[in-house]
Symmetry: C2
DNA sequence: ATAAATGGATTACAGATGTAATCTGTCTAT
DNA sequence: ATAGACAGATTACATCTGTAATCCATTTAT
């Protein structure tokens, strides 16, 4: 599947949040949240359809759009490729960067610790 | 500073690894490691200079290139913006994705735990 | 029933990107 | 000294991206 651009991702994320949506529903949401122009949103919906990232159902002359790719699948795949490119696949330096830049809350850290502890238990 | 594209990043990373380098040294390295054409590498060096990501020193008719931006600065900034776009700023789901996809080694996990433990001590 | 609004399709257009080729001025080997 | 090699500068070119505008066929409001 083709790459999804940043602005296309915004549209796709709206559909992950809720779907199916008509184009005007998507437009309304993104005019609000992202200050995007109607025409722009429609172009992006079209491109996402061409890229087979989104499908639609016709109902009369209105289309109802839904994502064709799962959020998890997409975000995880992008994460792996990002960390590959940026840190040669190593996750630690990314997390270290967050820590140094004070981007971690106590809660984040607690969550991560739980996650890692669980991981270790499973490896047993 | 302008965005650095993926293929430009490959060149920049070579200079992070070692610098200053002449263009032909960069070319040699990237022909090897990334199968990139000489002309392509030179174009990318030029673009990086225009973007003020790389500088050079003339020595005779040969230039010696060096990075102008620090690897840490760049990778951390990109990480923050990636996590913002992808996970609304939350780091945990990214790490969870790695865990689920079996991309963590016991060593990675140990490193991360140490990192997080240290973080907590500092917060005290 | 006409004009305006709406939905989707098509077209626009400048800048970024990947990937080179060509040009131009030295330097070097013969 | 001349031709070829090499360095950097400039140009090329298709595709992708962000951001819309225009076109065309309905539908709806007056």
């Amino acid at each position: 599947m083709k790459e999804i651009s940043n602005s296309e991702l915004v549209v796709l994320q709206q559909l992950w949040q809720q779907s199916p949506l008509t184009s005007s529903e998507v437009v309304d949401a993104l005019e609000q949240s992202h200050d995007m122009h109607e025409k722009t949103v429609k172009t992006l919906l079209n491109r996402l359809v061409k890229k087979q990232a989104v499908s639609f159902e016709k109902q009369g002359r209105v289309y109802h759009y839904s994502p064709l790719i799962a959020e998890q699948d997409y975000t995880v795949k992008e994460s792996l490729s990002f960390v590959d490119r940026m840190f040669a696949g190593k996750l630690t330096p990314l997390v270290a960067g967050f820590a140094q830049k004070n981007k971690l809350s106590a809660e984040d850290v607690a969550e991560l610790q739980t996650l890692l502890d669980d991981w270790q238990k499973e490896q047993k």
